[in-house]
Symmetry: D2
Subunit: 349 residues, 4 copies
């Protein structure tokens, strides 16, 4: 009953096997091996266009260096008020972009509102040196609240960004979960809707440590080799990342893993909604669930060994909790089993 986070899971056996297989033998270092090159090309197929790919070690690095690639003195990036980049990365995006800033844009359900975005950008008149200047927009798909932007919503944000000449970045720490939830292709959910740079996360979905920055507009990546190296994100044995991606993408494993996570979340959601001791705090469609539980039930679940986090009540819904209720977050993963889910739901019976 490990629902604390999808990064509490380990790695899928096929990922581990791929690493073991690659362990023998020699190959050129620093991203120049045949395997590294092959994996970079693999992403061209995946995205149905030529892309530039840079492997890095953490999701925070992927987000931060994506923004560093388009950084400008005085630059400001627009993100949702609760986005991971601004709330949970200890200032790494600011630090690794050379002190560019993040400007919070509100919006319900963890999603940046296109009109609010437009208004926020409007606060920075072109050439106004005191305010600084817009440099990028970033959105998270799936969001920190477990929701997903629809393709139309992404397109609307993309249109605002494009109208101001700003590149659009997508934090795809849970990219696969969002893709499966929408039934879309990688191309559909990115460049066809205006996304220029993607943090393609694989760690949370069954890898040990595999993150890629995908430049859907390769011309934005010209500075990246130097940006990555001076940020200490160029691995010598890059193969250990490539080998993970090889197994991850092979035969659609990555989508199967996300389908498991989302499917187990569906099973949890159904049970939570059906119980008199719990309800869904808001609707989610991926592998994150926010639930209101009777305190007794939550305590009982913990006593039985369930792992999950208490969650702060969002400012926009101050009256969410009744007496003796608690808000919790549950996250399923590639390795969650139906048995685990059912044991949790027994608590709510």
């Amino acid at each position: 009953m490990f629902f604390a986070s999808d990064n509490w899971a380990g790695a899928h056996p096929r990922i581990a096997e791929s690493l073991a297989r690659e362990a023998a033998g020699y190959a050129a270092a620093y991203g120049t091996s045949d395997l590294d090159r092959r994996m970079e090309e693999r992403f061209n197929d995946l995205f149905q266009r030529e892309v530039a790919v840079f492997f890095v070690g953490t999701g925070t690095a992927a987000n931060s260096l994506s923004l560093a690639a388009v950084a400008k003195p005085g630059g400001v990036t627009f993100c949702h008020s609760e986005a991971h980049v601004t709330a949970d990365e200890c200032g790494a995006p600011e630090f690794l972009t050379g002190a560019c800033r993040l400007f919070p844009v509100p919006g319900p359900n963890g999603k940046m509102d296109a009109q609010a975005l437009s208004a926020a950008i409007g606060r920075f008149p072109p050439g106004a040196v005191h305010q600084g200047r817009p440099m990028a927009v970033t959105l998270t798909q799936a969001t920190e609240m477990g929701t997903v932007y629809s393709l139309d919503e992404i397109e609307a944000i993309g249109a605002v960004a494009r109208s101001h000449g700003l590149p659009l970045h997508m934090d795809g720490a849970r990219f696969a979960n969002a893709l499966v939830a929408l039934g879309a292709t990688p191309a559909d959910m990115t460049w066809k809707r205006g996304v220029d740079i993607l943090s393609f996360g694989a760690t949370k979905n069954g890898c040990w440590c595999a993150e890629a920055i995908i430049f859907l507009k390769p011309e934005l990546a010209t500075e990246m080799p130097f940006i990555r190296k001076r940020s200490a994100q160029l691995f010598s044995k890059t193969r250990f990342i490539s080998a993970q991606f090889e197994a991850y993408l092979d035969g659609g494993l990555w989508l199967d893993l996300a389908r498991n996570a989302n499917g187990m979340a569906d099973r949890l959601r159904a049970g939570i909604a059906a119980s008199s001791k719990s309800r869904l705090a808001w609707n989610t469609t991926t592998n994150e669930i926010f639930a209101v539980l009777a305190k007794d039930a939550a305590t009982l679940a913990e006593d039985r060994g369930a792992k999950f986090y208490d969650w702060p009540v969002p400012a926009e819904t101050p009256d969410l909790l009744g007496e003796n209720e608690v808000l919790i977050r549950l996250v399923t993963s590639f390795s969650t089993t139906a048995d685990e889910v059912d044991r949790f739901l027994e608590v709510l019976a």
Copy 2:
């Protein structure tokens, strides 16, 4: 015949097995799992004192964040003129310390001279704001030229650093190779000689990606949790590093691997010195060899599939090469075999 670099090798089978074993099951993320804690404590034993341990992803990160931990506005770190931090890290130490500087100190055989170090520090009179101020000394063990500092030499450098109140950092990308070459213990080669912070590298010696910053003075590490996170070096599934270290240190595997690398280098050195087509450019005692070869021999070796790098002639020995001679670098690794070495030496027969 892969002698290009020790980071062209993959990972030792026991490292791969350890990762595979750990892949199943759940554990707390971001360095808080039982295994992470256990491995951190393992280093206390290894160094025979209480240390603070921080895992990071690359050797460049280990060096840069070691210095960031002791950074000060206007700070200057003293290093050998050809040290990896100044010559091969694309300015990452400067970038990740918030623009602190590296000041080159000369010295023969790739080793910083203690007197030259003292003179260099003397250029920065206390309180002189224009020059900036000393903040640290860093040395590389084994050095970039394949040599090692003797314990006395480390102590001499340590004494200079201490007399100026400066912390001493050791770049131990090839720590195990140096240790084996000297027949010393980790404690002997570090804090007993004045080393305060160590980049403990394991990647080159048989891991996929395992680097640790060891604070031999734990009180220097108070800022490190934030420094590491904002530099995007805090891995969510830290277990993938810990599991490597577990196998690496278990039963002295790490020293066995370094012994293999150094031993194969001895075998190469003996053959090179004995041949009329080659000679050692200078003496080395670890797994790096710098050799002068007849151009014909070098070409033949490459034709037969040997991988190695041509190397620039050091400025201090401009007359190193005779006519039709070339300087090359050969690096052995944990996985180099006697057969590989012997096939290379056949070229020189």
Copy 3:
């Protein structure tokens, strides 16, 4: 009728005379001359305690380096949502602190609410590496909306800061105007209410270029000599700043100048409130006035040569303007005359 900003004025004749007088003769450079030392000591008297003083060139530098003095990796400074540091300094505070962040705290009348501040700090639980950590609180006195914090309000903010162990900085770009408005002493309005660091601005109030960072807790200033120099704010002929401060403080000139600015603002306020073509948008007590004018009147004023800025309607009062009305900002200065004010008021007659 120059009401665009107090920095459109030049310098008071006594400032210019002081500079001319000091122009002859020699003195030690870089802040070490007798005059520099004397002026630094002058601030001890002014603040009735021993302070550490650092002259810099701009208000932005004063604010940014004040925060740099207390910066920490992952550090977050709390400020009002519309504070100058976050809205008008092009990211200089972030850049010059090595990428520390500013966290917006709401509050009516341009003033940070002490409870909202407490809640904002509460979002950063001690030791939580992902969020980063609080490092300082900064407030602006007088505020960007022309209001002033009462002594009690400053004390309330100071109490919150102190209870979290955070230093409190005051942006005093219009320090003298606030002091005169409150009838307080410098000590009353700063350290007696919990302020630890002050940007003491003199440029807007009659100097050419004179800004001082006053450390009311001198022990916070230990890094400042290096912070200032590496930020390119150590002037060689520091006397040109000291000579301005000498005349500025001598005989209470600075308070007389602020009294003129505030008094002329009172005269403007009275006229605006009395006219049927205008009203005060909100109450202010210093030299900034925000007024709602009939569009015709605003146009007429401009036609007659009045200089002022149109101002965006604050988000908290979206219905501020009626039909054919406009919001403008008027700023008086040390050199504003009653005649100028009266000519402006004629437009509203």
Copy 4:
């Protein structure tokens, strides 16, 4: 007898008068006033081509922001080993360029050798991510050793820079002194010889605080408005700088002032060379003199009130001093008088 530094002098009376004249009246702030614009245009005439001009507060800011304008991730700037940017600015160039590095190039007489420069750049093969990459070359005219580059020498350096596609910056803290020494025009000594960006210093030569960055290739300045603002170098009352430049350039005052400084230095040089108690340590042609004095004479001079600095013996001439001799630096300024010089020379009689 103030020979400590040219920045111990105050300001020329005509500078002070200009400031006093401008003190009255109002003008637009932040570099947008008529006077600011007029002065910017004045530089077009001075340099006989269209240039982009940015006023800043200190020479360190001028140098640092010049390099920031052409900074790149991993960027390296080549400078003389003893250049002011690397020896005397506390790391400000590194800090304000976002951690770009300075690479020392040797050369006799304080001048970078064109061949040594070429060799240094050659250490950075294009595309080699580990080393970083060249981004600029900077030379100081007049040099820190009191010498000047001949026009041919500048051209040779310019040719090397251009052949590698690198912008050439000139630190002109003593630009006027060099110009007068060479009898050249500003155009001759800059863009006609390959200089792209100039730190045009006026503070040392009779202003209070007047430094300008001149982009002789204006297309390099596109980022500068934001770079300057976020570095806290945009002054609100920019007029106080413009007014100084107005008087400084008017009627060739600046060249007259430099002629005085250089001429007084000639007088000193002649006396020092003629005395048995002193000699010139090396030849200089501007307002800096390095002299070897009998210790007794140096002590006597100090006793009589002369101000000058002891100077460290350059590493390249370790045997410079005989027994009981000392190396000193003497600097003349715009305000040095023949009487002062003669009183100093009396000591050597």
